[in-house]
Symmetry: C2
Subunit: 205 residues, 2 copies
């Protein structure tokens, strides 16, 4: 059995910083972490059932100071969050390389500002090299999760530079993207949709 | 062009800790980082040439304290290195999922203690799911890099529990594993060996 420590990575505020938690950005990022837990649980489920080997990448940190209180142990005393170079999740499913970014948002649209340009380019590159890549997005207010395939994401993203809207509207996603079944085991069964899209005879992506 | 910040991750001692750098363990880890730089350079080369999309995963860190000197920026003030849950590198090459751990060692043998059990199990699992996985190992004293395919690694690892040696001897690796061409661009051309092993008609792995 493989260890699965990633679930415990603290990527948001520690609980004592109650003042900060009131700002909208912080609230949003906390919702993001909940979605992250749902995905990590799903990946742990897939691993237990021997269906797929997909892990969250660690949060990239720039370490600037390290103390050595004991010879054997290092304590990091100064570090900063870095911009991720790729996406959050990758791995293998049915022999195929899987790569996706996961985001959650409040309200009726997800603004492209929440993705880095190079992350979208990375998703595109993965697809070009024969992998399966997508955005896994949760519209919190609707409690719905969707797979937005890279091709669809990229088209909308490019339109945003040519007068199109700067966001993925819930209404568009609901109509055009793929609703992911959610429940308890796994909590976010995104591989069921990947099966339909990429491993059935009538592929429609 | 995708950002490639991983090269600058500080995974070893900052330079000011000169006392510590004299211990053998630290020396070894510094050599490890040099090898890491070589691999990161190679991956950046593969990416530039549009041959493969392979990245180093960030070093996993357990964050325990965060300060917010400004509203917009977080400063981590206490954190610890964590045990990695999987391997250092993964990505996609010619449509195949690639996953490997990279290690360097001094002397004539690489002891299995330098790998976590679950990392070896992870490599095995990747292979089972149809990916390509291996150990990329540098014997520093010989300035040679080898690919040890997971099957070979696993056999030797299992033998180590049944009276076999607890390490990968340089002599064994030289005779049975695959020497990787090293140079300037790319510095460690491991995909050339992967080509020979997995993408030629006479596959011998």
């Amino acid at each position: 059995m493989i260890n699965y420590p990633n679930r415990k990575v603290v990527t948001t505020l520690p609980k004592q910083s109650t003042n900060e938690q009131k700002s909208p950005n912080i609230k949003k990022s906390r919702l993001g972490v909940n979605f992250e837990d749902m995905i990590n649980d799903s990946n742990a489920y897939y691993l237990r059932k021997d269906l797929a080997v997909i892990h969250k990448k660690p949060t990239p940190i720039q370490i600037t100071k390290v103390d050595y209180p004991k010879r054997s142990s290092a304590k990091i005393t100064e570090a900063f969050y870095k911009v991720p170079s790729t996406t959050d999740y990758n791995g293998i499913y049915k022999g195929k390389y899987i790569d996706f970014e996961a985001k959650s948002c409040n309200g009726k649209s997800f603004t492209f500002n929440n993705l880095y340009h190079h992350q979208i380019e990375h998703l595109k590159l993965v697809e070009k090299h024969g992998g399966i890549s997508f955005l896994l997005i949760r519209y919190n207010d609707f409690e719905e999760v969707y797979i937005v395939p890279t091709k669809m994401l990229y088209e909308k993203y490019q339109e945003s530079f040519n007068g199109g809207r700067k966001s993925l509207a819930y209404s568009f996603v609901k109509e055009n993207a793929y609703l992911v079944p959610t429940g308890y085991a796994p909590m976010v069964d995104y591989l069921q949709i990947i099966d339909n899209l990429y491993f059935k005879e009538n592929k429609d992506v």
